[in-house]
């Protein structure tokens, strides 16, 4: 597929790449045949039946009507097939595998910031191990961006004020493009970077290089800095609910609705505590809003910390919050990325 000096086909460097490419090649074959067929037929008719003195008047002939049915039914069936195939690929792109390595990303005009659970931070560079599913949780600090890995055939818009997750599993080591695919202002075309896919051992060495402590431990420091710990203590004595085991559980709210405590819930709890108030703690909630005080990066660290509390939940038998019954039920949904071995 490669012509010496310039490529006609992108690198296939993820588990999804060949699946997307197969669909693409199939569509080229099918649609190519149809388009070329239409082209040639027109051209052939235009020459064969060109207007000549003996052909001034078109023949009094209509093709059989059954043709009409043919070209309604056959394309419809083909379309249905393509739709099913394409949706199958889409589902795979959308479903994050359970054992993924967690990475956080923040988009802002005009750079990508990545944070590893072990605390490494990178800008416009991303180091990942090969053959390991990587899950990226991301949000934007300003406008909509889109994180695009052409070699992995995946991209996703990054929205302000909301976490979204995407995933990929690289299959080939090397350096591949990262692009911002959603127009985001002046330096949109400069919002690019590289993803470095490394052998697991090389990745370990890279990880061992400088870090300010794991993301969760940085989050713990922030937890103290923002005085969260004054209310969220480890026993039920504080003014706020105990946060141990909250992540991944289902929380009963003061209006008796139950919501899952996922990334976006934690985020909202910090930025806008009044929006969803835990039963027994209001309304109103005494928790102040941290909107405008905590940066996206710090939010991610706090999130990582709250998540790390979740994973120890089985060990800590403490009653997590006033409605412990709901937390136990949801404990098995907690999918924590494995810590650094």
């Amino acid at each position: 597929m490669l012509i010496a000096d310039f490529p006609l086909f992108p690198d296939q460097a993820s588990t999804m790449a060949s699946k997307v490419d197969n669909l693409y090649l199939f569509l080229i074959a099918l649609c190519g045949t149809v388009s070329v067929g239409v082209f040639l037929t027109i051209f052939y008719f235009a020459i064969k039946y060109r207007r000549r003195p003996d052909n001034e008047i078109a023949e009094d002939y209509e093709p059989p009507k059954i043709l009409e049915v043919t070209w309604i039914v056959i394309p419809s069936i083909l379309f249905l097939g393509i739709f099913v195939w394409a949706s199958w690929v889409y589902f795979q792109l959308a479903r994050v595998p359970d054992n993924s390595l967690q990475i956080y990303a923040t988009a802002k005009q005009w750079m990508w910031k990545f944070q590893h659970p072990t605390g490494q931070r990178e800008i416009n560079e991303l180091h990942v191990p090969v053959n390991r599913p990587i899950k990226i949780t991301m949000a934007s600090e300003d406008v909509i961006h889109s994180l695009y890995f052409p070699a992995f055939r995946t991209k996703m818009d990054v929205l302000p004020n909301r976490y979204r997750t995407m995933w990929f599993q690289a299959t080939k080591t090397g350096r591949y493009h990262i692009f911002c695919a959603e127009y985001c202002g002046t330096l949109h075309s400069g919002m690019v970077g590289w993803v470095d896919v490394m052998e697991p051992t090389a990745y370990q060495t890279w990880l061992a290089g400088g870090s300010e402590g794991s993301l969760a431990s940085q989050g713990e420091k922030l937890f103290q800095k923002y005085a969260c710990n004054t209310c969220h203590t480890n026993d039920a004595s504080g003014r706020g609910p105990v946060l141990i085991g909250v992540y991944g559980s289902s929380v009963m709210l003061s209006d008796n609705t139950i919501v899952p405590a996922d990334d976006n819930y934690i985020r909202e709890s910090i930025l806008n505590p009044q929006a969803k108030i835990v039963k027994g703690f209001g309304p109103p909630s005494v928790m102040p809003t941290f909107q405008g005080q905590v940066s996206e990066d710090d939010l991610l660290k706090l999130l990582a910390f709250v998540k790390s509390l979740g994973s120890t939940r089985t060990a800590a038998p403490a009653v997590a919050s006033p409605q412990s019954s709901t937390t136990t039920a949801a404990a098995q949904t907690t999918k924590e990325p494995k810590k650094k071995p």
Binding site: S254, D255, N272, P273, Q274, A275, P283, P284, T289
Partner: protein, 236 residues
Amino acid sequence: MSDLAFEHGEEHPPHPFLQHHFEDLGQQHEASTLGMWAFLCTEILFFGGVLLAYWVYRIMYPAAWALGAEQQNTLAGGTNTLVLIVSSLTMALAVRSAQLNNRRGTVLMLILTLIFGTMFLGIKSYEYHAHWMEGLFPGAHWHWQPKDPAISALTPKVQLFMVFYWGLTGLHALHMVIGVGLLLYILARAWRGDFHAEYYAPVEVMGLYWHFVDIVWIFLFPFLYLIPHVGAHHVG
């Protein structure tokens, strides 16, 4: 093929209000009413767009919406609903009078419609004034806060509600103002005696427009003034 030629027999002189490109008044009448209906389709989708946004956020922020509706003067809104319905009735009667060659009836009913329409706008401006004074105008001038400080977090969402309140009622009021202008024009023509059983399309078209504006309000009243606190009494 000369049968294609169309022989145009000499007919009686054309009606003064028959436009040159129509064959007869019937065709012209049908064209104007269809035109107005088509225009109303556009209007339905126009209001529909804001209403869509309104509903999306109403479902997202029920408490703020309820709180926003609480700030409205239901008495004024309800009165206005009735005023508008009366004006719709008089408008319908104006069309009827025109259909029946009743010039005086037409003029009278149009004047009544005009009065009620203006009355609506009067009450509306009274409400607007009150909102403005209370700081319920979104943007830089906003200074409203809920009485209960515990729910002050809802303020930005209430502001969003008020955006829709001003937007929807403003759009509606704009239509009313245009309607009043059109009414004046139609009234002048009715006064002059332009309309009769065979030529009353302008009155009919005016009526369609006026009733449509009334229908919009029929929806706006419950949407903006009467939102219940569904299962969220704790916030209010």
